[in-house]
């Protein structure tokens, strides 16, 4: 049995990754609550396409199950199991494939509490976002789509600790949670410990303090925005980066407080540009904090095409430290 990160107090553990945190959270949930089970494609003995469930089927037999390639029925089954008192965690192999499960997520799971009074404690893990060479169908960011529907909580962890605690908190929540984990961060993002800062779902975090402009973002784009802020620092600009952590609920108070300090807003997201999280942020700030703004609020998203395959195209499709810096310079020039 492979349980490499079970005891984190051991001194020889020097760093853990974002995907270690996801695996560890699921192991802790399986250990602590008999009602939790994992369901998804290739997640049992194979350990998942990204190894987020490696060793768990062995450690918890009859709690980790391979499903047929039936995304609709996977969520249908999970909702039925939740009605019977279980707390399922479903892994979509890629967020993109959750389009097949869209009906069960937004019509079955999301409407259930409002219609019947019985909440559905379901967590859907969506391996989200782009990585080089992944192409149009293994790269999508679907958080804005799910956030549009009432009855869902949508979280987008950007740090190793958030990946751990937000999955724990999602599974303990009585409502359906769409847990958007970023594939680019899986092995790239490392920390000394999984169990760092534990903030509740619904509270944003100041990832980097500043005073001249606010970047509101989430997930992998937090790291790109911090890089852009580092670049602008060389010219004397102090950029504040707000990590939303959960896009629904949206912690507009933290966003407004930051905009009150800086007077300038740039909302950055990796999803497609029409509508979505960045549009919601700009809309809410304009509505509730128009008087705080010294410049027109700006948005930066991916381009309005499918996510391209080739790394050269992909790198120019999503926001980058370069394009975020450019957008910030434009914002600061007003």
């Amino acid at each position: 049995m492979v349980r490499p990160f079970h005891n984190l107090s051991l001194h020889f553990i020097v760093s853990v990754t974002y995907i270690d945190a996801i695996r560890e959270a699921q192991e802790d949930l399986l250990r602590e609550d008999d009602r939790v089970f994992l369901y998804g494609q290739d997640i049992a003995n194979f350990g998942g396409a990204f190894k987020a469930t490696k060793g768990l089927a062995e450690a918890y037999p009859n709690r980790v199950f391979d499903s047929p390639i039936s995304e609709d029925a996977m969520i249908g089954l999970a909702v039925g199991a939740a009605i019977e008192g279980m707390r399922p965690i479903v892994e979509m192999q890629f967020a993109d494939f959750s389009s097949i499960a869209f009906n069960q997520i937004v019509n079955q799971a999301a409407t259930h509490f409002y219609r019947t009074g019985m909440p559905i404690p379901l967590t859907v893990r969506l391996p989200s976002g782009g990585t080089p060479g992944s192409g149009p169908f293994h790269s999508q960011s679907m958080e804005g789509l799910y956030a549009q529907y009432p009855g869902l909580v949508v979280v987008t962890p950007a740090t190793v600790s958030d990946a751990y605690y937000m999955l724990i908190d999602a599974a303990k929540m009585n409502d359906p949670v769409i847990y958007c984990e970023h594939k680019f961060l899986y092995r790239w993002l490392k920390a000394k410990t999984i169990k760092g800062e534990h903030l509740p779902i619904g509270q944003a975090r100041i990832a980097r303090p500043g005073k001249h402009a606010t970047v509101v973002t989430y997930s992998a784009m937090v790291h790109e925005a911090v890089r852009a802020a580092d670049r602008l620092q060389q010219d004397g600009w102090e950029i504040e980066v707000v990590d939303l952590r959960s896009v629904k609920p949206l912690d507009i108070d933290t966003v407004l407080a930051s905009v009150a300090r800086t007077g300038r807003l740039l909302a950055v997201g990796e999803a497609f540009p029409w509508g979505g999280v960045t549009a919601e942020v700009v809309s809410r700030v304009t509505e509730e904090g128009f008087h705080l703004l010294d410049a027109p609020p700006q948005r930066l998203n991916s381009r309005d095409t499918p996510v391209p395959y080739h790394p050269k195209l992909w790198a120019a499709h999503r926001p980058t430290p370069e394009s975020i810096s450019e957008a910030l310079r434009k914002l600061l020039s007003f």
């Binding site: 249908g76 089954l77 009605i83 019977e84 509490f113 019947t116 507009i252």
Partner: protein, 316 residues
Amino acid sequence: MLKARILENKLSSLYKAGKIVGGVYLGKGQEAVSGCLGAALIQGKDCFAPLIRDQAGRTAFGEPLIDCTRTYLGSVEGPMKGRDGNIHRGRPDKGMPAMISHLGAQVPLIAGMLFAKRLKGVLEGCVGATCVGDGATSTGAFHEGLNMAAVEKLPMVVVIANNQFAYSTPNNRQFACGDLVERARGYGVGGYSVDGTDLMACASVIGEAVKQARLGKGPQMVVANLLRLSGHGEHDDGSYVPDSARAGYYGRDCIEVAIEQLVEGGYASQAKIDAWREEFSEEVQRAVAQAQQEALPDPYLEKWSALSTTFPYISS
């Protein structure tokens, strides 16, 4: 099934009198199939996901009439509190989930309820059932759900009420196989055909399918052939159904067939059936009257929250 027919005739009258907001969807012609399925299940042990034409099955499974009249009439006392209406109602805590409109969606849902019972160690001797129409067999959810239940060998019974029309679309525009029951073999599940207008045949065949599932023989699929004796909803006159179909074998009314079978078989006298009719009519009247006297939902008192969780860190 007689109680369901009397209730639904009343719902139709209320609809025509403008007393019901939204649509009314009747199970006229499907009562023998639905009632036999509901009667073969045990409330408190089994689970049952009824669909649009399952008033008889709901009643047989134990749903009180007042749940129906309250939901149709919008009473805030009903299981859906005015948040959903008509046939989109249920008592998930009593093993009867509330259907969504998307066809086939309840097939994997019932599979999930059974899957959970297995994980909890209480599956032994339980059955989960759902009813779909011929149209629902064309959906991805139906296919995915039945295949998944077969892979997991869950004790699920799916009854396909083939009433020959999905809204207005006839069977020959819905599927190309000769008979839907042929699909059972492909799914690796038990397959049965039955005359859906014949109460005794339905009781026997559906009863057998439920029995096989209960014995642990995996999913069972029953195709019941019949004709819808009303429109898709009460807004629809069903004029697309050809006269030849109405005059044909499946155009017969399963209630009349059932009464004949009960009387001729010596199960019940005509006098007894007349007494039932009177008793059920009174029961229906009471359920309608009670629901009509109850408060309607109040938008000012409504808890406008789609989540059970509250987030103290968020001001709005």
